[in-house]
Amino acid sequence: MSGSSPPLVEVRRLAKHFPAGGGLFGRSGLVRAVDGVDLDVRSGEIVGLVGESGSGKTTLGRLVLRLIEPTSGSVHFDGVDVLSLRGGELRRLRRRMQLVFQDASSALNPRMKVRTLVGEPLVIHKISRGSALRAKVAELLSEVGLDESAMERYPHEFSGGQRQRIGIARALAVRPDFVVCDEPVSALDVSVQAQIVNLLVELQRRHGIAYLFIAHDLSVVGHLCDRVAVMYLGRIVEHGSAESVRREPLHPYTRALFAATLPASPDEARRVHAPLPGEIPSPVAVPSGCRFHTRCPFAAERCRVEDPPLREVSPGRLVACHLAEEIAAGRPPSAGAEGAVERSGGGRGGVSRGMPEDDRGTTG
């Protein structure tokens, strides 16, 4: 994790603005889905990307793979400018970067047998064919923990966890260096989640693959990732080692995300932090200044007008907050509602941790 070798994936000032509205009522605007993101992923590293729905994390994953074209910014993969590639060059690069979907059942063609699904990337990239192809598919299936007999079956004959294994086998078929995993375990049952997480780690160790692991579940990210980037409304607001972000979240949004995470045991449920008021604003109407100020318990006048840059506050720790140091030192400028709150009323009987949600901005 030392910064000596150049990163495998290097994202700079990446942005994707979609046109919004325009339709029936003639309203128009820009959805700033991704709005100026810098991110590095080093070889063999697992980087977590977390945020609420609407934060832009899925769009960012697609942009990095150039499955959608960015509005501006750059993506370099192993030193190559991904956005300048055309045709065959791009196809060759695609061999090295793959995607694992959240919903494997809709990502796998229901009319194809597993043999074809897993073999398809090998045929497209002209890696193998004929009997060699069959042997390779069998090997891939066994690598993800499926029996060779799976080859002649269709996706619907498998459980959710097994389908995710097929999706992983398909992504790994071309031996990529980098895989974007978009919420790969969110739709799975608890016991199956653990199996897939372990499988991803095993494959990463064996083949030295780097993952960009998109998730909303902080406990999975905390277990799995080397580094974590937290996204809010199209921007990365905090970035650091998974350990340091978990132990000492610096951005008020990150703190709120951890506070909102449901506990792993009833003991933990008794100590909770003040919740995050409101819901994520619409990316069509990004707030002025710091885009988090509308929900931030510490927001000061400066936050309403001045957009905070993502700055390094200690080696490897980046945060986009004017007040990060003051908040970390426990003396935020405004006396907010933040901090550990013992729920009143004995045990977990206490209720109403703070303000009601107000989401007027998200609708329409």
């Binding site: 729905s53 459980s159 653990a194 991803l200 989401d359």
Partner: protein, 339 residues
């Protein structure tokens, strides 16, 4: 919070068996389930997909859709048996006796009716009040579930509500019938992490505040259970495998399945890639293993398990566990307490 077992339960389920007819035979989504929900209690019904928890919930109101069928059992609410009632009479108890919040807040609201109008329908279906009075009640209901500016929001349409607000509106709608028991099916699953905590707090406040007599939450999420439930019923393959107060369940799970489930939660202190897992997968109900349905995946299973017909052993602290191996171990540990 363990309550004295003497008082009559608010809701009591006995011997509930639910079958589904499928192409490949008849499967049992619920097998002789018995449990109770006491006044002031929040009970969690926990299981993975295919455990039969949703079919069980729907059966309590005789709403299990065909080809599902309630084969036997009773559901008693405040001393009144519901499953044998004629449809017309049972309808009065749906909503006012037991209210149900479905899984998907997005699709549960009528998109072409104002949110308030949908609550008004519920109010007027259960009580004879004027339309104006019903609208006032609808506004109050929205306020009670924490929707800001309820007087204007009551006139809005569902699409103007975000996901979290829709879930709150559904809870308001359920409350409008003034139910004794609320049945919430995966109330947080469709929501972002940041909104889940708010909904969980709201649900808890409704029982603590006396708006509801009790609540049964159906969920696969152990986080929800830890945050809100008093007592937990764990289901596997259509059967109850363990029942315990929430603290005891997390601190000292007794059924091997419960234990494995809790251990498999991802944690930062477990070495990466070494999460404990349950081998294999949840069995298809049409091809259940013989004896204890968990035995092929169980680390404790011995030669008896494939032939042992599961029964729930009561433990001295009010718990119940359906494991013959665990029962033996306990008997050896606490000889004077074992049956």
């Amino acid at each position: 919070m363990v309550r004295p077992m003497s008082a009559a339960p608010l809701l009591e389920v006995r011997g509930l068996t639910v079958e589904f007819r499928r192409d490949d035979g008849v499967v049992r989504a619920a097998e002789r389930l018995s449990f109770r929900v006491d006044r002031g209690e929040i009970v969690g019904l926990v299981g993975e997909s295919g455990s039969g928890k949703s079919a069980t919930a729907l059966s309590l109101l005789r709403l299990v859709p065909p080809p599902g069928r309630i084969v036997s059992g009773t559901v008693t609410l405040e001393g009144k048996e519901l499953l044998s009632l004629p449809e017309k009479e049972l309808r009065r108890h749906r909503g006012a006796g037991i209210a149900y919040i479905p899984q998907e807040p997005g699709s549960a609201l009528n998109p072409v009716l104002r949110v308030g109008a949908q609550i008004v329908d519920v109010v007027r279906a259960h009580r004879s009040v004027t339309r104006a009075e019903a609208w006032r009640e609808a506004t109050l209901a929205l306020e009670r579930v924490g929707i800001p500016d309820p007087t204007s929001r009551v006139r809005e349409y569902p699409h103007q509500f975000s996901g979290g607000m829709k879930q709150r509106a559904l809870i308001a709608m359920a409350l409008a019938a003034r139910p004794k028991v609320l049945l919430a099916d995966e109330p947080t699953t469709a929501l972002d992490t940041t909104l889940q905590a708010g909904i969980v707090d709201l649900l808890r406040s409704l029982v603590v505040g006396g708006d509801l007599g009790a609540m049964l939450i159906i969920t696969h999420d152990l986080g929800v259970v830890a945050a809100v439930c008093d007592r937990v019923i764990v289901m596997y393959a259509g059967r109850i495998v363990e029942e315990a107060p929430v603290d005891t369940l997390f601190a000292d799970p007794r059924h091997p399945y419960t234990r494995a489930l809790i251990e498999s939660l991802p944690r930062p202190d477990v070495e990466r890639g070494c999460l404990p897992t349950i081998s294999g997968q949840v069995p298809d109900l049409a091809r259940l293993p013989s004896g204890c349905p968990f035995h092929p995946r169980c680390g404790l299973a011995d030669e008896r398990c494939p032939a042992w017909e599961p029964e729930l052993f009561p433990l001295p602290d009010g718990r119940r566990v359906a494991c013959i191996v665990e029962e033996d171990r306990r008997g050896a540990r606490e000889p004077e307490l074992a049956r």
